[in-house]
C-alpha cells in the first residue's frame, strides 16, 4: 500500500519534473554555457567572460537595460494607479451581475492575441488613424497628428497589455476584506484617506505586490509592444537579445544578455521588496 502511494506520487510528479527539467532547467544551463563562449576565429571558440564584459563596457547596452527597467517600473506604477480604483469598484462598490459583467469587460480584450491588440492601437494612433482624423474633424488640430513611434505610445501599450494582471490579484484580495472593517474605520472617526491608508491598502498589500511583480516582469520581457508601437525610438532590451540571436548570428552575446536580464530583473524585484518592507512569503501566504 505504502509503495503504491509512493509510485502514484512519482507518476504524478513525473510530468511536472520532466516539464521543469526539460523545458526550463536544461535550456537555462545550455544558454549559460553558450554565454561563456567567445568567438576567437572562424568556427573556433574559447571559454571566457568576454560577453559579459561587453555588456558592462559598452555603455549602449547598459543604457538600454536601464531605460527598459525604468520604463517598466513606470508602467507598473501607472498600471497600479489605474487598476486600484477599478478593482476597488469591482470588488466593493458593485455586487452580483454588474460585478461579473465589469470583471468580464476587463477580460474581454485578452481573448484576442497581443499582436491583434497592438495592431488595434496602431490603427488608432497612426498619422492617418482614428484619433488623428477625429482631432482634425472636430477642429482641435489643423493637420495630421502622429501619435505613434514614441515613448508615450510604448507606455500606453504596456499599461494596456498588463492591466488584467494587476486587476485580477487586486480584486481577489479586496473581495476578502470584510465591509464591517471599513465601516468600523469610519465609526472610529477615520476619513476616506485614513481608511484607505490604514485599512484598505495594508489589506490589499499581497495583491499589490504580486500584481506589481507580474506587471513589471511582463513589461521588462515584452518584445512586441515596444517594437511595434515604438518604431524607430523603441530600443528595448529584449529587442537587443532578439537581434543578437537572429540578425547577428551572435548567440554568445545574446545568451549573455539573456542571463543579465534574468539576474538584473530578479535583483530589481528583490530590491523593491526589501525597499518596501515586503517579502515573497507574506505575499504568497
Amino acid at each position: 500500500m505504502r509503495n503504491e502511494a509512493k509510485l502514484g506520487l512519482a507518476l504524478l510528479l513525473t510530468p511536472l519534473l520532466l516539464w521543469l527539467s526539460l523545458l526550463i532547467f536544461i535550456p537555462h544551463v545550455d544558454v549559460f554555457l553558450v554565454s561563456l563562449r567567445e568567438r576567437v576565429g572562424v568556427g573556433t571558440y574559447e571559454t571566457s567572460l568576454a560577453n559579459y564584459l561587453t555588456f558592462f563596457n559598452e555603455p549602449l547596452y547598459l543604457w538600454t537595460f536601464l531605460r527598459t527597467a525604468v520604463m517598466s517600473v513606470l508602467a507598473t506604477v501607472i498600471t497600479l494607479l489605474i487598476a486600484f480604483p477599478v478593482s476597488y469598484y469591482i470588488a466593493k462598490m458593485v455586487k452580483g451581475r454588474v460585478q461579473s459583467a465589469l470583471f468580464l469587460l476587463c477580460l474581454v480584450p485578452f481573448w484576442v492575441s497581443e499582436l491583434v491588440r497592438t495592431f488595434g492601437w496602431m490603427i488608432l494612433l497612426r498619422e492617418t488613424g482614428v484619433f488623428s482624423s477625429l482631432l482634425q474633424f472636430t477642429g482641435l488640430s489643423s493637420g495630421p497628428v502622429e501619435m505613434l513611434y514614441n515613448d508615450g505610445a510604448i507606455m500606453l501599450g504596456l499599461v494596456y497589455t498588463s492591466m488584467l494582471f494587476m486587476v485580477v490579484p487586486l480584486v481577489t484580495t479586496l473581495e476578502s476584506l470584510p465591509d464591517e472593517v471599513v465601516e468600523a474605520g469610519y465609526d472610529l472617526g477615520g476619513n476616506g484617506l485614513s481608511v484607505l491608508r490604514e485599512i484598505i491598502v495594508p489589506h490589499a498589500m499581497p495583491g499589490i505586490v504580486s500584481g506589481c511583480i507580474v506587471v513589471f516582469m511582463l513589461s521588462l520581457g515584452n518584445y512586441l509592444t515596444p517594437t511595434m508601437l515604438g518604431g524607430k525610438e523603441s530600443l528595448w532590451f529584449t529587442e537587443l537579445i532578439y537581434s543578437q540571436f537572429i540578425v547577428r548570428f551572435n548567440w554568445e552575446l545574446g545568451a549573455a544578455f539573456g542571463f543579465m536580464l534574468l539576474i538584473l530583473s530578479s535583483a530589481i524585484v528583490w530590491g523593491m521588496l526589501k525597499l518596501t518592507g515586503q517579502s515573497l512569503e507574506k505575499t504568497m501566504g
Binding site: E127, E146, R248, W251
Partner: protein, 356 residues
Amino acid sequence: MKNQSITLSTAVAFAFMGAATTASADTLRLLTWGGYAPEEVVAKFEAETGHTVEVTKSNNEEMIAKLRATGGGGFDLAQPSQDRIAGPQQEFGIYKPIDLTKIDAAQFIPSMLEATKINTTVDGAVYGVPHVWGTSGLVVDTKSAASVQDYTDLCDADVAGKVSYRLKRPTLIGFAYAMGLDPFAAYGDEAAYSDIMSQVEAKLIECKAGVKTYWGGGDELMGLMRSGEVVASMAWDTGGWKLNADNPDITFVAPASGALGWVDTFVLPAKGKADEAAYAWINFVMQPEVAAMITAAAGNFTAAQGADAYAADDLKARYQASFPPEAIDNIKWYPPVPAGLEAIEGGVLDRVKAAN
C-alpha cells in the same frame, strides 16, 4: 501492471517508428521565402512526382538561425541568398555540397549559374545554385518626392518626417555607395570596412530625425506607403511594383549609385533527409513554365532560361520602366559576406537605433 506498461511502451515505440518511416524520403521540407512555392506549383509537383511538400516561410536571418539551432536538420531544402552561404558554412557547417550532376544545368541562365557557383564555393565544393533574383533600391511617390534619386536623398529636408527604411545591412551598404564609398571592395579588410561603417553610422544618426520609422516587414512598408504617411523608402523592387499596380504614382526607382542585387539560391541543409526530392524540386521549378508561375507569385524573375517568354506583360513593363539598360549594368551584386562582418554592422545598427 508490469505487463501492461511493457505493452504500452512497445506500442509507443512502434508509433514512433511508424511516424519515422512515413516522414522519410517522400516528404520535402522546404524552407523558403513567401511566394517562392505557390500552392499551384506545389500541387503540380506533388501530382507529377508523388513527393509531398511542406513549406515553411522565412527570411535569410531566420533560415540560418533555424539551421544553426539544429546543426542543419529539420529541412531538406533551403533558399538563403547567395551571399549568406559561404560565411555560415565556414562558421557553422550547416549545408552539404550540391551534386551538380543531378541538376539540369541547361535550365539555368549560364552566367547566373556560374556566378552563384563561384560565390558559394567553400573548400572546392559548390553549395548553392541560383533560383530567384531581384534588387533593392528606392520606392518613391513620384508626385510628392520626385527629388529622391539616391539613398542619401532620403535625408533631404523636403521629405523629412515622410521617409522610412529598414535598420538592416542593405541600408548600410546602400548608404555607403550613395556616399561614394565602396563597401564590397572593403569586405576582406576589417579595418577599412569598420571605417566605412563608422562614416555611414554618422550619416544615419544625422538622418534619424527625419525618418518616420524603421520598417520591419514588407507589409508594414506597404501600409506606410499606401496611407501616404511615407513618400519615399528603401525597398525591394517587387514591393514598388506591387504598389505601382494600386497607385501609378508610386514606383520602384533604381538609385543613382546603383541598385543592390541579390540572388536567392537552393542549398541542401547538412542533415536533410530527402535529397532526391530536393533535386527533383529544383529541376521541376526551373522549367520555364513553372518558373513563370513563381515569378507571377513572388513578383521577381528567376534564373530559369527562357522563363521571360511566359512572364506577364504588365510585370515586364514595370521592370523595364524601373531598369533602363544602364541601371542594370549598375546593379551592385552582393558578394559573399565574410564571417564576422555582421558583428561590425551589428554595433553600428545598435548605435543608430539608440541615437536621439
